[in-house]
């Protein structure tokens, strides 16, 4: 523990420690980096769309949606298939009955 009486002096020193400080300077290649960065940015609509689509979060969300949609479609199709098969069975039974006249088998 330090001497409490000297705290105001210490704190004032810390508080004013940035007085007369020189400005920090960035790297000497700033202009090149800025120009590179600005050239890499999308400008047109299609470039903007591509830029967003290539972002991992967007790409994965879209992929998930497509997969989910496919799963839903396949599940839906499965149910439809069952119904169609049932209908076909009924149709087959009806056809057989009508062709061979299975109810009236006595000669």
């Amino acid at each position: 523990m330090k001497d409490h009486e000297s705290f105001p002096v210490w704190a004032d020193g810390v508080y004013n420690s940035m007085e007369n400080a020189a400005r920090a300077t960035p790297s000497p290649f700033l202009l090149t980096q800025v120009l590179q960065k600005s050239q890499g940015r999308p400008s047109g609509t299609w470039e903007m769309i591509t830029y967003w689509l290539t972002k991992p979060a967007v790409a994965f969300s879209i992929l998930f949606l497509v997969v989910a949609l496919n799963v839903l479609l396949i599940a839906g199709n499965g149910n439809m298939q069952l119904k169609i098969t049932d209908n076909n069975n009924d149709f087959f039974t009806t056809s057989i009955t009508s062709v061979y006249d299975v109810d009236n088998i006595t000669p």
């Binding site: 020193g13 920090a24 300077t25 960035p26 600005s38």
Partner: protein, 185 residues
């Protein structure tokens, strides 16, 4: 965004280079004092100049170029801080396996500070980290960049009274933090 570049790989508009030459230190110093990280400050400085170049043609000289550039810089710094916070709160795995405690205790040394005041400035920036963003920004603009209350009010789009109150609160909070640091070194 299209900046024309000539065959030598330089900007075709010489005024843009002049703008950068005149204001790069101011932008970088402000960003560095706020985010306290050299690479992040360089990144912010680049983003600031990309925006300046993009909006150069439509810049209305109502507020003055200095105010305009400061405003862009402050906004970019705030965006950066928010992004970092989001990354921190979202990084569950990083929190489990990483050593965030170590990250938080990194000491920042401002490169422009006088040699005899280096240790004190480290304490100042440590205390500054704990301030709310708005107070931190007002403190940096006032105490490090040496702007007056009117200029800060123009940059932040608030009243002079609000700036004055933020400076007071920042000072009080800083002294509280410094007291804690003094008692528990």
């Amino acid at each position: 965004m299209n900046i024309e570049i000539n065959a030598t790989g330089r900007s075709a508009d010489p005024s843009l280079e002049t703008v950068m030459e005149n204001w790069k230190d101011m932008v970088f110093n402000t960003a560095l004092s706020i985010v306290q990280h050299k690479e992040d400050a360089e990144d912010i400085t680049q983003d600031v100049f990309v925006q300046i170049f993009q909006q150069w043609a439509i810049f209305r000289k109502e507020s003055g170029i200095k105010t305009w550039i400061y405003r862009i810089t402050v906004n970019k710094c705030l965006d950066h801080i928010r992004k970092k916070k989001r990354q921190k709160s979202g990084g569950l795995l990083k929190r489990i396996f990483g050593n965030t405690a170590e990250e938080e205790t990194i000491e920042f040394e401002h490169p422009g500070v006088l040699a005899e005041k280096k240790e004190q400035s480290v304490q100042l920036f440590k205390a500054l980290q704990a301030l709310p963003e708005s107070q931190k920004i007002v403190f940096v603009l006032h105490k490090i960049e040496g702007l007056n209350q009117g200029e800060i009010a123009d940059i932040l789009g608030i009243t002079r009274m609000a700036v004055e109150s933020k400076i007071k609160r920042a000072k009080n909070n800083l002294f509280e933090k410094l007291k804690l640091m003094y008692e528990r070194p």
